[in-house]
Amino acid sequence: MIQRIDYDAAGLISGLEVHQQLLTKEKTFCRCPAGLYVDSHDGEVLRHMRPTLSELGEYDGTALMEFKTKKEIIYLLNKSNVCTYEMDDTPPFLVNQDAIDVAIELCLMMNMDIIDEVQIARKQYLDGSIPTGFQRTAIIGVNGCLPFKGRRLTVTHVSVEEDSCREVMNKGHQIVFRTDRLGMPLTETVTGADLRTPEEVRDAILLCGLVARSTRHVRTGIGAARQDVNVSVRGGSRVEIKGVAKAAYAVKLVHNEGIRQVNLLRLRDLMHERGITKSDDIRKTAVDVGDIFADADLGFLQKTLGASGKVYAVKIEGAAGLASHPTQPDTTFLDELSGRVRVIACLDEQPILLSSERLPDFANVHRYRDRVRKRLKVADRDDFFIVWGPEADCLTAAEEIRLRFVDAAGGVPKETRKSLPGGYTTFERILPGPDRMYPDTDSPPTRVVPERVERLRKQLAPPPWEREKQYSEWGVPLETVHYLIRRGGVETVEEVVQKTGVDGRTAAVEIGQRLKALKRAGIPVERLRTEQWVQIFDLYTDGRIPREGIRAVASVMAREPGLTADAARAAAGIELKDASEWRPEIEGISFDGYVVHKGDSAARRFRYIAGKATRMLRGRAPARDVVSFLQEKLGVRS
């Protein structure tokens, strides 16, 4: 089993689809408030989804697959945040132009070509996550790029789309969704497959996040930005890893997917060596073996049989040993089989699927295995699997197991995989193709005139790379710049610098880094408006407060809204005195209370005495001046 690969040798490539919620008052296609989440509901609707034809006349593969699962889909409604549009009982209203504006801003920041006439299309999703069965979506810009590690990361397109429901429960043939998030405006940013390592994927996600934040018109917080990562290796296929919540998670996910694909290609070669290359080469036999397992000491089988379910054995000819072929690290091909069975046949009773090689340890397990082998005439070159549940689902599962082996003979199937904790993924659905898209006949196109684009270009905030350059000239650490962009402090820093004449480094560090600490301490500093910051920095540049007083005044103002900076300064007891007034107080400062222990040193002793002095003079003398006075007095070199 391999745990490491040389990404370059394996030909790993990756691209992103970044989904970012936009900060608008209303949803995309109705007038419901955006961003209002609830945990309760006051109505429920039950629906089913059927595949339909695309405009070019074919059923989409994913669509058909999802229909096989025949799910009962339940939507939870709350009148505070959904109307009859979300429940698909009212046609869409005209698309939210604020959302289009934000998307255009995002496009402009990424040097994109704005589409002249935006056309709304429908993208089918039969998983129930959208009650209409399709997501309304429209391309806003194409052909962009981002500066990335000294090269260009291409941005293929940016679209505006409506967000989907939140899944509450998914079991058997029933899936439950909450509709509050449904219809919120999102942008989808699609990059080229230009990324070559898991670390690059992580960094590109961070960059896309900074770009979005730089527009100032996107939502923040949990779930506001989500990314799908596309990965393939040479000879493999594009696999989409859905729902990567944090950039850091991408590293292991991409790595593991690379390994999975390399392993699946080896499995393909192994099957080809056995002469298995096409669908006809993979034959199955599915037989009801409920009688054999009637007295087996396995709880999940007894539960199924007790509920008049069935137990089926599925023989796959020529498949001996294949199920234990490695895929992701510490995972085998059996996991690929159980993923498909769980999703497509709706058999989700753990452990979902048993393989002949890995039957659980229960009384007389050998006897049961032999009986199944006899019943299905399982030869040494064959393998068998056990599934359980409603009969129709068992039969779907049997065929799905066969189909997964068929896919294996072709290498890596194109699919969407859900990310799990720990960097693993599990099957979600077959990767949909362009056939699932067709025009939205309910929505007229939106013409984007050049004047609108120019108006938005004029009010465009600086992109992150320009700020990075400016701030690094000020000597601000990169980490602080990124923090300020992500948390929305950059405008404040820039206005403070411009109005108070403070140096950029002090403003950025005090507002960015120090605030992080205050926030962690539970002080609501985010309440402070830019004007208040200007007042505080005015006090500093006027010499009324020392640098360490900035933080103290800010924290008072945050706790007590309504105070002016000067009142807060007074409340914090800060009143700078002339050195002649405070110097005498620390002339005779002593080492009383200093505890000598192992690490004793001159530097340590000085730190002790300096700390004691600054505490004594807090609010009356700048810490920096106190320290230099003591250094001079005690003859310590700075």
Partner: protein, 473 residues
């Protein structure tokens, strides 16, 4: 591959500068193209037809990624055709299986959206119809009945008129004659209740169910109500015991069951909800489920007062129809000029949807008197939809009665309109008209209104909210 010049439809919907651009680069609709614009962006995809209501400054491409974009033609620097692929939008057609043990149902097509495809020129939804297409789209139908289809016309429901009603009634007569076990009529929903009413008068004494069905979400959508409505309507035509003209549409907006409504007592009550059809002033006839109940039936009968299925019965078809009839919705400031104008134009009947118990204001009395004296029939219904016209309660009403206005009790305005057209198509004798209008043919007037015949629940009330939480919407 054909050359673009051989294609007759290459500019569908394109005109002006957009068309000139297509001509310049010798490309057209369904061309697979590579287009470069002044920003250096390259778009590859298929040129789609243009909706004729859109401007002539853009060309629409379906990119190979599936998205559509509109490109300003004045920004296009270069375009070349790399292929040609005309869209064949077709529901997979499979032969509808025949099972001698199953009932035979005839589906009459009038248009509408029960099974459909998109038309790119207009953005409209076009019906798809043959049994093979229906089987391809809703294979479950084959488990219910044997299906034959007959396309009578393909018009949207707002365009249906007297000629269509007559053709429908005649076709029903023919299909009954051929021995069908039930009839389904695919119909757009907007005027389904009008058709339900007129067919109730034109086709009486039917031996088998006549079921109108449509969909509120077109069948080109995954969440469409079309498939369930179609299955339940075919089931009703094949097996339901009620041999009346009925409307079969969603009960709740959830995918749960359909309701069978009497053609004369039903109305579309929401512009877009799935559960838009409601029986007014009475209860629906039955619920239809796709699965069987404990008694082995797909039906829960709500009413027991109906005409039962009886294949020995002979239908009476009467397609009389007078077109010079109108509905006037009364409002304050309604001007008597309107009545005079209608009389001048030769109108023979007016259905008034009056206020309250069936009232109009006195200033229009002289116009009404004159019209009635000159032979016009004026009948009164209520714009409240629920409740009776009871014109003897107030002076205004009594005076209207005296003028000769005929109060139609609780007949719905649309049903009254259709009945008046039908009656006036047969007679101009005032007393006969009055008698025919007041003698119910199929519950268009009911003697009594049950208390649960009027239920408009008000959201926000604690008991209603509690009810809604416990039931599928």
């Amino acid at each position: 591959m054909t050359t673009p010049k051989d294609r007759s439809d290459m500019f569908q919907g394109y005109r002006g500068p957009a068309r000139a651009m297509l001509e310049k680069f010798t490309i057209g609709v369904w061309s697979e193209v590579e287009i470069k614009n002044d920003a250096g962006s390259v778009f590859t995809g298929v040129i789609l037809p243009r909706n004729e209501t859109c401007d002539d400054l853009h060309v629409v491409i379906k990119l190979f990624t599936g998205y559509n974009v509109g490109l300003a033609v004045d920004r296009i620097l270069d375009a070349r055709e790399v292929g040609y692929r005309k869209a064949v939008y077709k529901i997979p057609e499979k032969e509808f299986p025949y099972d001698p043990k199953k009932k035979n149902v005839t589906l009459l097509g009038t248009g509408g959206t029960i099974a459909s495809r998109l038309d790119y020129r207009t953005g409209a939804v076009i019906p798809a119809f043959t049994p093979g297409e229906l089987y391809g789209a809703v294979p479950e139908l084959a488990d219910i009945a044997n299906l034959t289809t007959r396309k009578l016309f393909g018009v949207f429901s707002e365009n249906l008129g007297p000629e269509n009603y007559k053709a429908l009634a005649a076709a029903i007569g023919e299909e009954v004659e051929k021995g069908t076990d039930g009839i389904v009529i695919g119909h757009g929903t907007d005027t389904m209740h009008h058709t339900g009413a007129i067919l109730s008068f034109m086709v009486q004494n039917s031996p088998v169910p006549i079921v109108l069905v449509g969909s509120q979400r077109s069948s080109d959508r995954p969440s469409s109500d079309a498939a369930l409505n179609l299955m339940n309507s075919v089931r009703s035509a094949a097996e339901c015991d009620i041999a009346e003209v009925m409307i079969c549409m969603f009960g709740p907006t959830s995918d749960k069951y359909d309701l069978l409504h009497r053609g004369t007592r039903c109305r579309k009550m929401h512009s877009s909800y799935r559960s838009t059809f409601r029986t007014i002033g009475d209860m629906p006839l039955a619920m239809v489920h796709t699965t069987v109940n404990e008694k082995g039936s797909h039906f829960e009968y709500i009413s027991h007062d109906y005409l039962p299925r009886d294949k020995t019965r002979k239908p009476v078809i009467n397609t009389a129809f007078e077109e010079k009839v109108t509905i006037q919705y009364y409002y304050p400031n309604f001007n008597s000029d309107i009545i005079d104008a209608l009389a001048d134009k030769g109108y023979k009947g007016i259905v008034i949807a009056g206020t309250g118990l069936g009232h109009v204001n006195r200033p229009i009395f002289p116009a009404l008197r004159k019209a009635i004296e000159n032979g016009m029939t004026i009948v009164m219904t209520v714009q409240t939809l629920w409740g009776f016209a009871q014109m003897y309660v107030y002076d205004t009403g009594r005076d209207l009665l005296e003028l000769g206005v005929v109060p139609l009790d609780n007949m719905l305005p649309e049903a009254a309109y259709m009945k008046l057209c039908w009656v006036l198509g047969q007679t101009s004798d005032r007393e006969t008209i009055r008698k025919m209008m007041l003698t119910p043919i199929n519950h268009e007037i009911t003697p009594r209104e049950p208390h649960m015949g009027y239920l408009i629940m008000q959201g926000g009330l604690p008991e209603v909210d509690e009810f809604i939480c416990k039931h599928w919407k």
